[in-house]
């Protein structure tokens, strides 16, 4: 029993954590919108990526490693399941090979979840999926602030003459009015660029951009402050590309970039966003075929766990948040 919460993880002091069908954090796998505060949802789609494919197996890998996570968050001082009921909702039935049809599937499947006031935590899949999520989110909540951790801007206009690709979602989201770039921020940008205009292009769309070098120089706390300041009290969506992290800590992804962040820095910076009123999250680009030790999938699971803990913390302090 977890107070009066309906759905919560199995107890790994009673049955071993490696037992049973793998769900996120050993949560019940039920496709319901009743009595649920948050839902973890897989979007196993990798058709839109430009280098290494295979992130369609990301959700399964994250679930596999999430079973060792224990419920009390030592850093935020909270057991999320004292405040929240959560489920593993399974996966959205994507259509491999077909980007735009998949966007429709994502939008349709998320609608009843969002309509029930449930916070979605989606596990990718490549970064193209976020456009589908944002379409569903914006229909429910209007344009949202975007908190975007990534080594790439993903605001390229097109690749090979095509508009939809994992390098373009935020250009499209801006065009479609799904995000309020004046309160949005892109953090951790590095790697080299096609041209010096790449960052300017993002800035021209209205984003604030903090490069990896700037993060290294400003420090975690100051960057946290700037993120909170940028978003203000807007409803926000957090999209986390695992290649934000350095390849030493997250080798299992499609387009690695050196000069990134440690797992300690990454989670600390995520926690700096804890005051923000998030209404959705995703974690993308986990690619198990290049993650033989499973450290990338485990880190991604921990990122999702920080998200869940932040939802609980926010709810514990804000009566109106997640009130259904």
């Amino acid at each position: 029993m977890k107070g009066n919460k309906k759905y919560y993880p199995a107890d790994s002091l009673k049955s071993p954590r490696f037992c049973d069908v793998r769900t996120f954090m050993r949560l019940p796998n039920v496709k319901t919108t009743e009595d649920v505060d948050f839902a973890v949802i897989g979007i196993p789609f990798d058709t839109a990526c430009s280098f290494r494919t295979g992130s369609r197996f990301g959700p399964a890998a994250i679930r596999d490693m999430s079973v060792t996570i224990r419920p009390y968050n030592i850093n935020l001082g909270i057991n999320a399941f004292d405040y929240l009921s959560g489920v593993d909702y399974g996966d959205i039935p994507v259509i491999p090979g077909y980007i735009e049809d998949t966007y429709e599937q994502i939008e349709n499947e998320l609608k009843p979840i969002l309509d029930a006031g449930i916070i979605s935590i989606c596990l990718g899949g490549d970064h193209s999926i976020t456009l589908g999520e944002l379409r569903a989110i914006a229909k429910k909540y209007g344009p949202v602030a975007l908190v975007h951790f990534d080594s790439h801007l993903d605001t390229i206009d097109s690749y090979f003459g095509k508009k939809y690709n994992h390098g373009t979602p935020f250009k499209r989201a801006w065009e479609e009015g799904l995000i309020d770039t004046s309160h949005s921020i892109q953090v951790g940008i590095r790697g080299n660029l096609y041209s010096p205009d790449d960052i300017n292009d993002s800035v021209d769309l209205g984003f604030k951009v903090i490069t990896a070098n700037e993060v290294h120089k400003l420090g975690i706390e100051e960057v946290g402050r700037q993120i909170r300041e940028r978003v203000g009290d807007k409803l926000a969506f957090f999209t986390f590309d695992i290649d934000f992290v350095d390849p030493a800590y997250a080798p299992g992804t499609g387009t690695i970039e050196v000069g990134g962040f440690t797992s300690y820095e990454t989670l600390a910076l995520i926690r700096e966003t804890k005051g923000i009123q998030f209404i959705g999250f995703d974690i993308v680009e986990v690619l198990p075929a290049f993650d033989p030790n499973q450290i990338t999938a485990f880190l991604a699971a921990n990122v999702a766990f920080e998200f869940i803990s932040m939802i609980a913390l926010h709810k514990s302090k804000n009566a109106s948040y997640l009130k259904r």
Copy 2:
């Protein structure tokens, strides 16, 4: 759909096979004994093994790769789900580090399933688990004939002065009267031995033993005939150790032995047992940490699928079988 069968696999022409939480063959994961003909059950226990540990992750690996199996068995000419309702029952909550306590768990958990007339297909775990299964089986059905495919006899008396170990289960089963060795057979024995007495010890317990060399020489059909002849019309249990197969085809196991069988030979020989009245099955010793390409787990999933198809075939021809 699927006639009036209640539980059957998701359709991979409709939703991609890599979608959703991983269950065996995409069967529903429900812990019920109602309207079920067979149940796939994980027993993730590897405490009793003498060389490489890690087979506690076997059930998860087999589930992962089983999702690509399609329902119509081209070799037996049957779609099992025209005749059977089946579930993924999840795992038995073993107690890692404690062999005898785990045997109790296995026995207790299998009882309601067997009592409901359900055929159990257990996924190991190391070969010690079969003793727990046989205790449950024998309580329900009395001593059964054992069809044992393996490269090892597993009838050693003790290791390091201890009675319970993955090398000893069939010595114990014989002592406890769980099996009728006069109708039992061990097939595929090879590897080298501690002494020439090892095979004699098995024979002294009453087993018929067919070594790998004999299989290579007699051929699949003749060995099949001898197995059927040996078992006759006794109720039987099929225990399949994946190291029966050659390491080229099944590298992911704890104690590989060269000179084994191809996947074609293995499945053909399994199918030769199709006339036998089996009331339980297991597949043991799949060790994912040594199976980077997942070919071992996939082969194990196919073995389970042959078992399911044989159950269906038997039921299609024997009115009394599986009548609840």
Copy 3:
């Protein structure tokens, strides 16, 4: 020097085979149609696959391992470069994420090569690419006989409501009149099926189907005879899916199927087709991320080498073949 042949491999007795930029068999990498008899061409496209992605890295992996192949074919008794000039033509610039656009690219890029009377040997990529190749081939040569080695039929009508996918190319090719199924043959079919109708569907399209079990029973020579008989003196295209081979020998592919063939059987059966007048070849579904030992890529390179040797053998005996 290789007689008067213009393009031939570097000599590995002179410079080590691991030296220099990796091209197929150390052939020159030149994008020309002058003085060329055959061209090896990569088609790194994996958008259309239904399970594991990653075969876009297939051409690179095959090139990497092809450098150890020596020019004299011990089985066919010929050094291809005594008769042929060949190049590594590089890759076709596919459009990841866009199947139909990629078909256009394939067709456009192959046209000048075919028009120059060059034999194309394409390296996939997933099996969807063959449709693009066949469109180009049929435009030049009319409907061709298809020799198709695979564990799957790839004549499914649609997946997830979509017509273009790596499971559907030969249904489409038949619809578009690109192949003469009355002279076509599918060999090695196994794995389980969605329904017993799957094989009938292929037969209804006009194909002759020889299952893996039939191959195991008839033997290599008899199957070879049936293939040659089926094709007769029609112009033919050979499409080779690496999953024809057993996963023990070719683990690095997207949809493995147990019960397949050894490398010895595979190459022997390919050589049985040596009398046929082929005007194109491909090798598809090599997936390096699941091929840590590179044995799959090496086997694929050897398949391509058998193709090259067969072209030379055919040319050595048929004055009219490959006459430009």
Copy 4:
């Protein structure tokens, strides 16, 4: 020649370091207590672990990678073999599958070594083994101060109703009076917890706990000072769980936790303990099956080397230490 020291490593400038049977640092493998100052001893036991098994292969992996370590410690400014004679004592014959019997073996095997005044450096194996070591140590020396580097507290009372497990050794050690918790310290604790009481439980047993976050904030030098202050001049035992280190630096372990330490920080903090009078050491939870690059095993070997160098340094300054 190494002065008058009897046992010291082979010289890798004379015979290549990859030559000969693998012993720790190429020390002689002799099971003697004569003329020995320290002994490296494997305890290949992994029965008591709660997630990934396989650390029974830890000692072999550490030996394999230790052969590249050269004798002069650049950081401590000492060649240990100017002061010490050391051997690779081989492994303790554990009883796989039987925790309490193995504790007896450990205790019995260590007794003659400790009685000879030899410093033991044990290589695990899972963390349960430390209880066996502490029983032997306490019999010789009475309750000792514990310096415990780990991401987990390992003071849980029981798992699955069982008292002996790799999560419980220090609760048991406290119950059995083997350690003086008033001088003991646990450093690096992180990961999430079953409940906020977990740390309190350790504190209630008398331990001082410094979490990973505190280490990140206090810095290596200050934490070093606190450790030395805590232990004072008590005889101490150093137990090092490799998951203290971040998974980027030590992926090969059973229960990884993100947010850990770099190899530089880890070794620097170990060296901060150099004033303490240690009478035993262990390094546990190295799991080679998840260490394909062998970086974890190499780091563990370096930890052992720091231990050896600290023994030498201590001996060089304290006439009474290690006096037999």
Copy 5:
């Protein structure tokens, strides 16, 4: 395009970066000295190494991963191809098994390149190759300043009684007068030593040595200042051993040493050398067999890219540099 530069990378917004034969950064693979400012050259030689062999496959691995690098250097604020024309020159035909003959090959092959005023960026191969390069460099430019990033000094006199080995090149270079040690510097030295004299030996040859510990303490900027001060305005050669980096970031190398640098620190320190007048570079000891995630090869490719960007930056500011 690209101003009037003749050779520059393919555009990955037009054709996918995974297309075509793998060359460094998708540069043209042409063996010419006309219209070329810099040439990337593989030296796939690993005969001279003392522990893990396999770096002969280093150049191929670096090329494979270099294809994702985009041309605009975000840190140096320059697109090298606005200033430079560059090629992938292929590999030098080494003679495996024969060190001294290979030195001759290196020297002979580099001569025409250097004579044409081209900057060479060589990809190893083990560190022995640098002696061959320095012989060619010194013949053209006289003794040069050496900037040497490594965890090892490589100034050992001999191994196993032999003078040529990957641990001895800089002792030989000093003996042969190829380097001006009074302006040379070794940075990042760590690992343990054969004796305390090892560093003194380097100092006695005239080198300035900054150990890893000193780098950790002084910080990147101060070390950068000391390097620039040491070299002054001498012509310089930069030799970069990938084991300078910590194994977490660069596991794929022959002789890993813990306590190293992050990818961020490494690239930042390289950029600190940007004022120096380099006339050659190499990157050695990348060993793909221990780099399953390819993060080492990718980091090495980025190091080469920093070198290229620094050449461009230097040229943009110094009219006389690279004037042919």
Copy 6:
């Protein structure tokens, strides 16, 4: 106790087989020639290979996996240790990078062993080492018959203008009069060739050659008969290159060739040579970096075990054999 035999393996029913420093089959690691019938000796040398390096780690890998072999040979019906005393002699101190110096080391180190009438079983290392062994053997016994299992002939005259290489040892052995080719045989030859003359060259040296295709066609028994007939009652040396086996069964080697043999066929064919009077054996080209599942190393260990069993069998029947 093993009768009056002095050196025999540890008993794995008493102490677990994964315990202690790894020696071949858990034999004592003693460098003695007293009371020894056979010695297993590592020759960790890979300088002379033409493609993948790394076989210097072969002996360690074979030792690691040999510990699971039990002493009674089920196929030959003998426990070797009833007849033989055997040791793991450790490794010969090779000189990496220097082929001819290493030959001297091999010859010098083997001399006292051979002089003591001990049968040597050497573990490579690349195939070049056999020349060193044959020099020592011939000095003691005169020219011997060679039984050579391999996919390559290794009778090339030179590579890159050099005489000593792993492709040339048997040309050299013939030149130096170390082998009696009129009684020698090369079995399993396949892969493609530089020219049709390659086989003729071997035949011209006097060898009988049986290609892989011939073995596949003649069958194991007939080939066995031809080998025995060829050798007759000459003293013989057995050299086994692991690439004789198909890559599916032995992926971990430097130059794989498809179309090889299964582990069953391989061991059966080795046993066919049991009547021959061998005075030495080696097993070469095991390359652990490409053997992640360790199946190659395990197969190699089994080959050595067959050799040992054959020595025992021969001794049991021939009073004069091995009489010291």
